[in-house]
């Protein structure tokens, strides 16, 4: 009886302590996963007033998903998202590793440089995006001006972001320069965990710095590379603020599947547009498909990881 009482008391205490967190978690994170599925099978009825919009939705079965299948803008947004991932992930892994290797030397002021590189990654994406759109702007932006004086006149008229070929790489460059410090910190921690004796052994065998990088450093920081690839994938599927700040999905000049598409309209921005125009059912369907894609990517990633180990 005493033991039973103790177990009961421990359960009650636990749920009291966990309660506030658990309630918020269930209402705002667990329930939405199911609620989203329900919303995605509904359509906003336009006669309703704004505050009751979610209670007055009309049930339409899987019609939103069928529509989605034929939606050239949605398919295009997936392509743009994949392209954004390809532009950002390898570059930020490379830059992060490069900075970490540079900083892993005994030099004066190393901790200053470490802070300087890491600082941009904690700054607001919206603000960083706005600053870059100033730097990139046509005629007067500092970057087109510099390039102009070097004889590159491509960006003088359109800037970087109004040109459909350079718009997304421009966004990607801004975000990679902002976020590279995060990768650098992770790589630096991993590199400093590698025992010095491993490098000394390589020295005795006559390995040059390049060989040490390829055969020792990179294999030993592979978990960090994997982590950054997964985080980068999630960040690409989540990309919204940088697009909102810099291009609003434009320029709208690309032809694809019989429609005119925005060169930088990533899926996150497309989802926002559907929300913004009050197509809540359709927006929920878009997010459900994106959730499904995320799950597939995570599973593939997990499988690759397990095979490598």
């Amino acid at each position: 009886m005493a033991i039973k009482n103790k177990i009961l008391r421990e359960n009650i205490t636990s749920y009291i302590f966990l309660g506030p967190f658990l309630i918020i978690f269930l209402v705002f994170l667990a329930y939405p996963i199911f609620y989203s599925l329900i919303i995605s099978m509904h359509k906003v009825s336009w006669s309703t007033d704004l505050y009751k919009v979610f209670s007055d939705m009309k049930f339409v079965w899987f019609r939103n998903y069928v529509r989605l299948f034929d939606d050239s803008r949605f398919w295009w947004s997936l392509i743009v998202t994949a392209y954004y991932a390809v532009l950002t992930i390898p570059l930020s892994v490379f830059l992060g590793l490069l900075l970490a290797i540079l900083l892993n030397n005994k030099l004066p002021g190393v901790s200053f440089f470490r802070s300087a590189y890491f600082l941009p990654s904690v700054l607001d994406v919206l603000v960083v995006g706005i600053i870059w759109s100033l730097i990139y702007s046509p005629h007067f932006g500092i970057l087109p001006k510099i390039l102009n004086s070097l004889g590159i006149k491509t960006f003088t008229e359109t800037g970087v972001l109004a040109n459909s070929r350079t718009a997304l790489p421009g966004v990607a460059l801004a975000m990679v320069l902002r976020g590279a410090g995060f990768g650098m910190i992770l790589f630096l921690a991993a590199i400093q965990n590698i025992p010095v004796s491993v490098y000394e052994a390589a020295d005795i065998d006559g390995a040059n710095p390049w060989q040490k990088l390829i055969y020792i450093t990179i294999p030993l920081v592979k978990p960090i590379i994997f982590f950054l690839v997964i985080m980068g994938t999630i960040a690409s599927l989540n990309a919204f603020t940088e697009i909102y700040a810099m291009t609003q999905g434009g320029p709208y000049v690309v032809e694809f599947m019989g429609g005119i598409q925005g060169a930088t309209r990533v899926s996150g921005y497309y989802l926002f547009e559907k929300w913004d125009t009050m197509q809540y059912g359709y927006a929920a369907a878009v997010s459900y498909v994106l959730l499904f894609i995320t799950l597939v990517i995570s599973l593939v990633n997990a499988k690759i990881m397990r095979n490598k180990k």
Partner: protein, 279 residues
């Protein structure tokens, strides 16, 4: 021997030059923002050194703007970020304590449920969370901005990991001395976890301060609770060419975080690396 020394020296100089060039490139947007924010209106695009008189004129103009009161946006942001960070640190540490030290029904199930939401991009929660907040009548409120993001699963795991290292004997002896569960939490667990709690507090503060999309979703443009990023986006919609004012407004969002980072970077770095290095 001298040749070797000279080579070492040359290598050091080259490395430092590379590091300086890298720092200039990466911090350039930050300095450019401040440079343009200090310029005379109309000179935002010109490569000259015509500064505003007095120098901080643009900052004052933005701070006291009547249509877009950035002083108010700043206070709102400060309130949202501070209270969000406080509630998150409190609830996460309470939850982490029982996950680290207690056994209860459904513990494993809840743990895996939480873990599985970690991999879902936040965008995917936007529509259902907006629907819930609308139904609760939380549009244009502080609650609506703060509460849906208080259940920070990453923060809870970070704290749990740390609290598992606190020896059970410490808790047992307190119990024998007649301490209540709340006293154990408050007098033993919290003080011993303070560095990690600080990390969770600061990371949440940063998250709430820059949580643009959600604050845009929860507020209508006429809301009295607009925060800095949303205010900045609306301001930009009106004055898209007034770069000197826009950059001054941006600085109000950036500079507090930069200052916070300089003083507390150890906590930021520890928190952000903890998730990755533990594999």
């Amino acid at each position: 021997m001298d040749v070797k020394k000279a080579r070492e020296r040359l290598r050091g100089i080259l490395l430092i030059t590379a590091l300086i060039i890298g720092a200039v490139i990466m911090l350039f947007p930050f300095f450019w923002m401040i440079f343009v924010a200090l310029k005379e209106p109309g000179h935002g695009f010109k490569l000259d050194f015509v500064f505003a008189k007095p120098l901080w004129n643009n900052f004052v103009a933005v701070w006291k703007n009547t249509a877009f009161p950035f002083s108010k946006f700043f206070r709102n942001s400060l309130f949202v970020a501070t209270s969000g960070a406080f509630l998150t640190a409190l609830f996460c540490s309470m939850g982490a304590y029982v996950f680290a030290k207690k056994n209860f029904v459904l513990k494993e199930v809840i743990f895996w449920m939480m873990l599985s939401t970690l991999m879902i991009p936040g965008m995917m929660f936007m529509v259902p969370q907006f629907a819930i907040v609308t139904k609760l009548g939380w549009i244009n409120t502080y609650r609506g901005m703060i509460i849906p993001h208080v259940a920070n699963v990453f923060g809870l795991f970070l704290l749990r990991q740390h609290m598992e290292t606190i020896p059970d004997s410490l808790l047992n002896s307190a119990q024998i001395d007649g301490a209540s569960e709340w006293q154990i939490y408050k007098n033993i667990i919290v003080p011993l976890s303070m560095p990690v709690i600080t990390t969770v507090f600061l990371l949440t503060f940063l998250f709430q301060w820059t949580n643009f999309l959600w604050q845009l979703v929860v507020n209508t443009p006429d809301s009295m609770k607009l925060t800095l990023p949303v205010g900045l986006a609306l301001f930009r919609g009106q004055y898209s060419t007034e770069w000197t004012l826009l950059m001054a407004a941006s600085a109000f969002s950036i500079i507090p975080i930069a200052v916070l980072f300089i003083f507390a970077q150890r906590f930021f770095i520890e928190g952000l690396t903890a998730g990755a290095v533990k594999e």
